[in-house]
């Protein structure tokens, strides 16, 4: 379980996050939603330890990340897999090497075992045929999927995805959502997904946190999100034609 308490972050005196709290449970897909520029990626970076929040705590199964020493930080980090918004693949390595990289660095497995594991993960994201291509030779959506494969290759306890399905066609997008949910259920991992995608919100959002201008305005699940009376969230939801129609029926 990941618990965040009163996390605040400012850049050059401009408050980007203001006292965000929440709990992400294992075996659940937790979503962070909100408009562009509301601080979703910054919140994620505070959680995974790339930005140090000015105030607040981030607890991984009770271990405080920012209070912990270098060993604690490293131990927590070796339990997480992260998909970055742009994929963050290593340019100098091909797709298979990218996925295999965490295994190379952090395990003592034999080359054969590592390749098998990496190929298995590529297969799960449907990219077994792209193994030998370089990141510059694949599309944006494919990069995202390679990023997911790399994030899950170490069997993480915590999985973080920054917009896993932006820039993907609706079908692939749903497949990615299903994959994330499958992995979450299968290994009972704690998954945190940032998304703008209403399909994902309604499809996999067992816990949803809505951010607006650095504040948490609403939390709940996909069961009750359409009944919200927060005007900002209503605006966010009903920007989507389909949901507007669902609501009216």
């Amino acid at each position: 379980m990941i618990e965040i308490q009163n996390v605040s972050k400012a850049f050059n005196g401009r408050q980007v996050l203001d006292g965000i709290s929440g709990k992400f449970e294992p075996g659940n897909c937790s979503l962070i939603i909100g408009g562009s520029g509301t601080g979703k990626s910054v919140l994620l970076k505070c959680i995974i330890g790339l930005f140090k929040p000015e105030a607040g705590n981030v607890l991984y199964a009770g271990r405080d990340f920012w209070e912990g020493n270098a060993d604690v930080k490293r131990d927590i980090r070796r339990e997480m897999g992260v998909l970055f918004q742009g994929g963050a693949l290593f340019d100098s390595k091909n797709v298979l090497e990218n996925v295999k990289f965490p295994l190379d660095m952090l395990t003592d497995q034999s080359e054969k075992e590592k390749i098998e594991r990496a190929e298995f993960c590529l297969q799960r994201v449907g990219l077994e045929n792209a193994a030998k291509r370089m990141p510059s030779e694949i599309s944006g959506g494919m990069k995202k999927r390679v990023g997911i494969a790399r994030a899950i290759v170490m069997n993480p306890k915590y999985l973080f995805c920054d917009e896993p399905n932006s820039g993907l066609d609706p079908l692939t997008s749903v497949k990615i959502d299903e994959l994330i949910q499958e992995i979450t259920d299968e290994y009972k991992i704690t998954t945190v997904v940032i998304t703008h995608d209403m399909n994902s919100v309604l499809g996999i959002g067992e816990y949803i946190m809505f951010l607006h201008k650095g504040h948490k305005l609403w939390e709940g699940s996909n069961q009750n999100i359409l009944d919200t009376d927060v005007p900002e969230l209503q605006e966010f939801l009903y920007a989507n034609q389909l949901i507007r129609r669902m609501k009216n029926h």
Partner: protein, 245 residues
């Protein structure tokens, strides 16, 4: 950011190179790869520059030494000493600062802005030592080899230019480069080179690693890297001359 803050951050950066390192085998392979790339990439420019510098030094020295009381072999003696003391180690390093420094800074800058550095960090790796240490080791290994070649080619360039223009006879040239030879100049040149290699790679890596923003800032980081490396080389050159000669 003022100079002192930057200097402080640079030394903290150097400290991070050696803390919490990964498996030694990782570094060995990376260093070897970087060394091969660095050597092959630089040998052409180093050869061209040093040959011509030697040639020009020889011709210009001959042009300046018009007194009948100075024997001709002094020309090649001057070419040799200038090559060993300054031209091969320092000028070649400045040329390499332009090539290797900008390469390192823009490479790391790109990795930073495309979140590849973050990706390494969240894996629990020490991204500084993983990315930078092999580059420094490779340069410290390969630069002395390049400078040795540069020194040889520079003296050879002087020979070719001097004998072709008739400024000096082959025998006198050979006599000159062997006359009054101070053996310490050779290790001195190599020591200088190792220091320059460390400065160029670490300063450029520092600039690239802390890039913030986008493609424009990557370009700026790479320019700053080259400028700062050159300044550092010249300052170190002066200090080492004071210290060791």
């Amino acid at each position: 950011m003022n100079l002192l803050t930057r200097l402080g951050r640079y030394f903290i950066f150097l400290g991070m190179l050696f803390r919490r390192r990964e498996k030694a085998s990782v570094y060995a392979r990376q260093t070897l790869e970087e060394a091969v790339l660095l050597g092959i990439d630089s040998i052409f420019i180093v050869s061209i520059v040093s040959t011509f510098i030697g040639a020009v030094t020889c011709v210009q020295t001959a042009y300046n030494l018009v007194s009948p009381f100075i024997p001709d072999y002094v020309i090649s003696l001057i070419v040799r000493d200038m090559t060993l003391l300054e031209l091969a180690p320092t000028i070649t390093s400045i040329v390499l600062a332009g090539k290797v420094g900008s390469n390192i800074a823009s490479g790391l800058g790109t990795m930073r802005i495309s979140e590849q550095v973050d990706a390494l960090e969240v894996m629990g790796l020490n991204s500084v030592s993983y990315l930078v240490l092999p580059k420094i080791l490779a340069a410290v290994l390969v630069f002395p080899m390049l400078i040795t070649i540069a020194g040889f080619l520079s003296i050879w360039g002087g020979y070719v230019a001097g004998t072709l223009t008739g400024a000096i006879t082959p025998d006198e040239y050979i006599y000159g480069i062997r006359a009054d030879f101070i053996p310490f100049n050779v290790p001195f040149a190599l020591i200088k080179t190792v220091v320059f290699a460390f400065l160029i790679t670490s300063i450029s890596a520092f600039q690239g690693y802390y890039t913030e923003g986008g493609a424009l800032e990557v370009g700026k980081a790479s320019t700053t890297a080259v400028t700062n490396s050159c300044i550092a080389i010249l300052v170190a050159d002066y200090l080492l001359a004071q210290l060791l000669l």
